[in-house]
């Protein structure tokens, strides 16, 4: 199955009711599919099915009138689409994983 690199970013209005709780739940879903590369930015390598699943879970959490969620598909993979400067906490999970 083909996998795609996606970029997920979000703003959750933490001053609104339950804002902190929503923020934590959004982060938790994102962590299950990928990795945090900046405070509210995740990179995930997922199948189409996993992407749909993840999106559906996130849509159940956020409040559309208060929060914002953006999912970018990195066509051709992050290697082609991304230039990173400064701190980089990304791990390629397809590389040999030896701890």
């Amino acid at each position: 199955m083909d996998r795609v690199d996606i970029l997920v970013t979000y703003d959750v209005n933490v001053t609104s009711e339950d804002g902190q709780a929503r923020l934590a739940r959004v982060a938790k879903v994102c962590k299950n599919y990928g990795q945090r590369v900046q405070m509210s930015v995740f990179e995930c390598r997922v199948t189409r099915a996993q992407l749909e699943e993840m999106e559906a879970k996130l849509l159940k959490i956020i409040e559309p009138d208060k929060d914002s969620l953006r999912i970018y598909t990195l066509v051709g993979g992050r290697d082609r689409c991304l230039r990173v400067h400064g701190q980089d906490r990304y791990t390629d999970f397809d590389d040999p994983l030896v701890v």
């Binding site: 199955m1 996998r3 938790k28 962590k31 299950n32 599919y33 990928g34 990795q35 995930c44 390598r45 997922v46 996993q50 791990t91 999970f93 397809d94 590389d95 040999p96 994983l97 030896v98 701890v99």
Partner: protein, 339 residues
Amino acid sequence: MTGELLNTLYVQTQGVYLRLEGDTLRIQHEDVTLRNVPLHHLGGVAVFGNVLISPFLLHRCAEEGLEVAWFSESGRFQGRLSGPVSGNVLLRRAQHKALDNPSQTLYLAGRFVEAKLKNSRLVLQRAVRERGETEALALAIAEHEAALRMLPQARSVDEVRGLEGQAASAYFAAFGDLLLSGEFRFDGRNKRPPRDPVNALLGYIYALLVTQCTAALEGVGLDPQMGFLHALRPGRNALALDLMEEFRAWWADRLALSLLNRKQLTPKHFEERPGGAVLLDEEGRKAVIVAFQSRRQETVQHPLFKEPVPVGLLPHVQARLLARYLRGDLPEYAPFVGR
């Protein structure tokens, strides 16, 4: 056809703790998180020595069919997580029937050995092409050719084993000539424990490879213990060892040679233990695992399918072909022969 090649997580840092955190695997050392890996990236987890795994993570791995295997710190296979029995009972029954059928057992044993002989010969011939002939190399190639000629006439599995044994001893008599660096010597195969660096390295890579073969067989629902060439023995994954014969020279031995000849491993990566055992040290083991994993991700043209297959999926492809042969969907089993 080939499916997805999921990564294996190798944990060899002593004293770490693996736990389940949502749908991710968290690697902790004392209170520090070393890494989080989403489970959907993983096809298996291999742990070496003193590494703890939480019960919930184990349950989840069993549930999702993630292969978990335990090795000693030095790389000796210790055990494996086995989830609920799955796969096709009819397939396993076909496998048992084939083992009770002497002509089918002989046929399969012969195919595994044929592949082993061809792939070993390939390694020897490549050395001759690249560096010229030595006496031992010429002899070993001749032994392989003789064995390949006699193989179709073998009347019993014991005869097949005899041919294999003869060729293997010539192969290992010549193996020292394949080492370029003067820092390593090889005077024949020894194990349990290995008594020199080259044997330590071979043993370590074979341990990694047999786990891959076991996982591949289980993946298609075959019983990895029920082998045709290797004698049945409690606790021995005879069929995984059978399947591994196709890959020993082509994958494991060549990887060992390239690690040594490119000086990615040097004598300082090996340590001698009391009693004369020689083992890879932590840094050496890491280098081997990284090279092994990178090799898994390279693709090769499968001789049967005209499409590129990642090396790591070859055992799975072969396991599937074997299952189809046992079921009667294929009239022949075609073992993997590299180029």
